[in-house]
């Protein structure tokens, strides 16, 4: 502190500090402060360390804090199963809502229903140029109500020759086929000319 505290005296000579003023000033300066209780500092620090920060600060702290991620595959099974179910339902739903005029697939395949009635057989398959006359995977299903063997085969455009294979050992031309052609071995093959605008059912 300065020895002479004349700063607050505002220019009026009458207000110049005299000896009593200076004694008062020195007295005020030498007043001793009370010591703050030793509990003040720790109580303040405890309060600010344990108080809940604002939500903005909590968000910032959360974003800045490192965290570990635990992956437990078993816990994901229900979610994966649910996803697969939803996916399958979506696929079925979309496939059932195809527009009839549009090609059925990107390969331009068309669903052809082969059907055979009035044949006495234990099993019937469809063989032809589209499966290299191999019946495996082309077994027809018996429909009791219609009393017919039937199978849907996806075929591209073009000319297809085919026959039914009865009980795995006897070939039978399609009685409903509009065209037939000799196979050069004394038998006839059924003929299907498939064009995009046809969409016919056999």
């Amino acid at each position: 502190m300065k020895d002479e505290h004349t700063e607050p005296f505002l220019g009026d000579p009458a207000d110049k500090p005299d000896e009593l003023d200076l004694q008062i000033i020195r007295g005020v300066k030498q007043l001793r402060d009370h010591e703050p209780p030793p509990t003040l500092l720790p109580s303040v620090m405890l309060a600010i360390q344990t108080r809940r920060p604002s939500w903005i600060k909590r968000v910032i702290l959360w974003a800045q804090a490192p965290r570990s991620i635990t992956f437990t595959p078993v816990r994901w099974v229900p979610a994966i199963a649910a996803f697969l179910i939803v996916f399958a339902i979506a696929v079925v739903f979309l496939s059932d809502h195809r527009t009839p005029e549009s090609p059925v697939s990107q390969q331009n395949l068309f669903p052809i229903v082969f059907s055979l009635t009035g044949a006495e057989a234990r099993s019937v398959s469809i063989i032809g140029t589209f499966n290299q006359w191999n019946p495996k995977g082309y077994e027809m299903q018996w429909n009791r109500e219609k009393k017919a063997w039937s199978l849907v085969v996806w075929l591209p455009e073009g000319r297809h020759e085919y026959n039914f294979l009865i009980d795995g050992n006897r070939m039978l031309p399609d009685p409903e086929a509009l065209l037939k052609q000799d196979d050069g071995f004394g038998h006839q093959n059924s003929v299907l000319n498939l064009r995009e605008e046809n969409g016919q059912t056999i």
Partner: protein
């Protein structure tokens, strides 16, 4: 960190170092506690108000302008907090003039080694200080005891610089009148 200036400490706190606030509490707990003690005359109230002042300042620290001095800002928060406390408790700021003799707990401790000061009876000065209205008492103490500049006092008491000078000048004048009056009475 104790060597850092207030602005550096504040920057550390705002950067996430909560414990750095202890440096500021250590630096200013004495003047804040004495302010509260002068305002309330109660050790317990002064402790509570001091604690609340530091916590309130911590909460507002993001509003503190870095180009300002920290203590005037803290002191303003403390003074307003003490005024609110007095208003809410519907009690007047402490005046010890009536019962100073019977109430030694409010006595200030002083240094009697100064021969000039010894000529003024110490308790008369204390009594006069406590009798001064708060705005004059704080202006006188801030300038002559805490040794703050008029600019800082103006900021703390929310006055112009000339207003702060006037407040200090009048406070000192009132003190003088009180002491002379008491001497005359004796």
């Amino acid at each position: 960190m104790d060597q850092w200036d207030d602005q550096q400490v504040v920057a550390a706190i705002l950067g996430g170092d909560v414990n750095a606030y202890g440096t500021l509490v250590r630096r200013y707990q004495k003047p804040i506690f004495n302010l509260m003690y002068r305002m309330t005359g109660s050790h317990a109230d002064a402790l509570d108000l001091s604690q609340e002042t530091f916590i309130k300042a911590y909460d507002k620290l993001r509003l503190f302008k870095k180009d300002r001095k920290f203590f005037p800002w803290l002191y303003t928060i403390g003074l307003n907090h003490a005024r609110n406390f007095i208003r809410d408790s519907r009690s007047d700021p402490v005046s010890f003039s009536e019962n100073f003799e019977e109430n030694p707990r409010v006595s200030m401790v002083y240094d009697v080694e100064d021969p000039l000061y010894a000529q003024i009876e110490a308790h008369h000065l204390e009594k006069a200080l406590q009798t001064l209205p708060t705005e004059y008492r704080e202006a006188v103490l801030l300038h002559y005891h805490e040794e703050f500049s008029m600019e800082e006092i103006a900021e703390m008491l929310q006055l112009s610089v000339s207003g702060a000078k006037m407040r200090v000048h009048r406070g000192l004048k009132k003190l003088r009148e009180m002491i002379l009056g008491e001497n005359d009475e004796r």
